[in-house]
């Protein structure tokens, strides 16, 4: 009797555990990346997994939500499913451009939130001709380049499409295979687009034609974030712990700074000083001309547990705002690295992985992992002015 009870109990426990595992994987899809945040005119645009939003800035009310549906095929048939959005939106020509996990680039009317057009690259066939490869999610934000929108899309390709007039036959003017996935928003400077790839390369392309200008392939680690341009130099972080300075015209390396761990995003550049973080939670201030390390702050020594600094810090009025993976937002004095707030802003279970925004006197931070999608804080004392959605869900 006892052994039967025990064996049945253990069997039931195994099934329950397996079911729980399944539920975790097949239930409500969790975020696969942090949210994208872009300022508009008295609004901010937020791509937040299942929906994108335009949020009114004075009070945090919702101007419109946008949801993208995508055809989803399975063994049991096909149907429409909710797509996800994480990439940083781009604003221009009265449209907001979003990349989606379903591999789409969508253009939405900035005022009404109605979808104007969408583009999904044709997936290549597999070895069975009528079965196509599934498009990979788009994590890189679109970038505007004059009358074009540059879209680092699925299948290792970068596309250039007309930014306006997209209602009819929205097709790319050119597309280039960059050989690896792109997670960082491409950077456009005059007539060149710079693309960092997970395949350890920084690539410069001609905006008009897509023609390759140069490839910087020195890094020994992935380049997951966007490059940053200042005064003829590109700065890009790498998983090989280096921040690289690359000549924007030639692609030649100028110097590399060895940090303590992976550098995900490019630096904030202010008057020749570079501010950036690594995934161990260190924040660096570096003189771009001399590569002198002006100061380093080890955030884990300020708060336990520490957390990765993934995003580019925000600089405003002599203060650096730095978010961490452990749900802590710091205000650091840009000159000294010392804390400016009596207490950092903390949200339990949140992960601050998106670069904050300063807009209309509000410090905007978009966490993942908590019900609130956006906090508006006072930059002087970190007091919450509003949050979206409100705790009551509105």
């Amino acid at each position: 009797m006892t052994h039967r009870f025990v064996s049945r109990w253990s069997l039931t426990a195994l099934i329950v555990l397996a079911a729980l595992t399944l539920t975790a994987c097949g239930g409500q899809a969790p975020a696969t990346a942090w949210y994208g945040l872009t300022p508009g005119d008295e609004v901010v645009y937020l791509s937040a997994t299942t929906k994108a939003y335009a949020i009114n800035l004075p009070d945090g009310t919702q101007k419109w939500p946008y949801e993208h549906k995508v055809q989803q095929a399975s063994l049991f048939g096909s149907g429409m499913a909710t797509d996800q959005m994480h990439a940083q939106p781009a604003l221009g020509n009265g449209l907001v451009y979003f990349g989606t996990d379903g591999g789409y680039l969508v253009a939405v009317d900035a005022t009404s939130g109605s979808e104007k057009c969408s583009f999904v690259p044709e997936a290549p066939s597999t070895f069975i001709p009528f079965i196509k490869e599934k498009p990979a999610p788009v994590y890189a934000g679109p970038a505007l380049a004059g009358d074009r929108v540059i879209f680092a899309g699925t299948l290792n390709n970068v596309y250039a499409l007309k930014a306006t007039g997209c209602e009819s036959n929205w097709k790319p003017d050119w597309q280039v295979d960059v050989g690896s996935r792109v997670w960082g928003t491409p950077l456009v400077v005059s007539n060149t687009v710079y693309v960092s790839t997970l395949g350890h390369k920084l690539i410069a392309l001609d905006v008009e034609t897509g023609q390759l200008r140069w490839v910087f392939d020195k890094p020994m680690g992935a380049l997951a974030g966007s490059p940053v341009y200042d005064n003829g130099v590109l700065y890009v972080g790498s998983f090989d712990n280096n921040l690289y300075a690359v000549d924007a015209a030639s692609g030649a390396q100028q110097w590399a700074f060895d940090a303590q761990n992976w550098i995900w995003e490019g630096p904030a550049v202010v008057s020749g000083t570079l501010y950036f973080g690594d995934v161990s939670g260190n924040v660096y201030a570096l003189d771009a001309a001399t590569q002198k390390n002006l100061w380093t702050v080890e955030l884990p020594k300020l708060q336990t547990p520490g957390g990765a600094v993934r995003a580019t810090p925000l600089y405003a009025d002599g203060v650096l705002y730095v978010g961490t993976d452990s749900g802590v937002l710091y205000a650091l004095d840009a000159a000294t690295g010392k804390e400016r707030w009596p207490q950092p802003f903390k949200v339990p279970n949140a992960r601050f992985l998106t670069t904050p925004l300063m807009k209309d006197g509000l410090l905007l931070v978009a966490p993942v992992g908590v019900p609130a999608l956006l906090y508006a804080l006072s930059p002087t004392n970190a007091q919450t002015q509003w949050q979206f959605p409100t705790p009551s869900g509105k």
Partner: protein, 268 residues
């Protein structure tokens, strides 16, 4: 604690194999799964032997159930006495199973972690590639583990970070899970147990098949390899003896003796 004891070491071991074996993640999964199954082999054998011994005692237990149908206390006492005389511990089959389960959960988590198909997973991976163990693996390989990222996720027709578009892998996993389930479930004389076994033999493969269908195929590959190893391990322990013993209740009392012998052999 879980991260320190399981996820960190597993992650570094998997990447070490990946680095040593030509940067092929499918082969790394294969070798790593074989290693883990080899390490847990003594537990598996103990569990299977215990299950067999219990099966051999089933007819006796049923006799006791009939005899003491109205006296639960006596039934428990006599059942435990029977187990003691046969040198069988009813819990000895469950403990190895419970010990193995966290290992396989850890392995599943590590494969998902190392594939890092999305940015949040990549960020989590970054946390596990720092520390002395990663430095040791890096020095053994003479290269930074970060240089492996992103991993080569192509194998045959599969993108290991995506679900199999042809559903070949889920189908093979369903078949192998069913096969394994059928082999490892000892025949039962009890009608209720038989019904439960039948239900399990269908539900479990379908459940895992669905799971593999919606998951990255790297995980499906792991399940397939794990199933195949389980089947091979079972044959190594030896199924025919169990099947014969269970199918012929009259042979049960004689079969208790070999169980005792095996136990003493293990002690030696």
């Amino acid at each position: 604690m879980w991260d320190t004891l399981v996820i960190g070491p597993f992650t570094n071991a998997l990447l070490l194999i990946y680095g040593l074996l030509g940067h092929n993640f499918a082969i790394a999964i294969l070798v790593f799964t074989v290693l883990i199954r080899a390490i847990t082999y003594p537990l598996t054998v103990q569990q299977q032997k215990s299950a067999k011994a219990m099966q051999v005692l089933q007819p006796k237990v049923q006799e006791l159930q009939k005899k003491y149908a109205k006296d639960k206390e006596a039934l428990n006492r006599e059942t435990m006495k029977l187990y003691q005389e046969a040198g069988v511990n009813p819990l000895s089959g469950c403990l190895p199973l419970l010990l193995q389960f966290p290992i396989f959960i850890g392995l599943y988590q590590v494969i998902m972690l190392v594939m890092a198909v999305n940015p949040l997973q990549m960020l989590n991976l970054a946390k596990h590639l720092q520390g002395p163990l990663s430095q040791l693996v890096s020095s053994l390989l003479n290269t930074s583990l970060a240089s492996f990222v992103p991993l080569n996720d192509r194998f045959l027709w599969l993108n290991l970070g995506q679900a199999d578009p042809f559903y070949i892998l889920p189908i093979v996993v369903v078949v192998s899970t069913y096969w394994q389930q059928k082999m490892m479930t000892p025949p039962s004389a009890d009608a209720q147990s038989q019904a439960m076994n039948r239900q399990m033999a269908i539900m479990m493969p379908l459940m895992f098949g669905y799971f593999v269908m919606i998951s990255p195929s790297g995980l499906g590959l792991y399940w397939l390899i794990s199933n195949l190893i389980g089947i091979v391990q079972y044959w190594m322990v030896g199924r025919p003896q169990t099947a014969t013993a269970a199918a012929t209740p009259a042979a049960a009392p004689k079969a208790i003796a070999p169980a005792k012998k095996k136990k003493s052999a293990v002690k030696d």
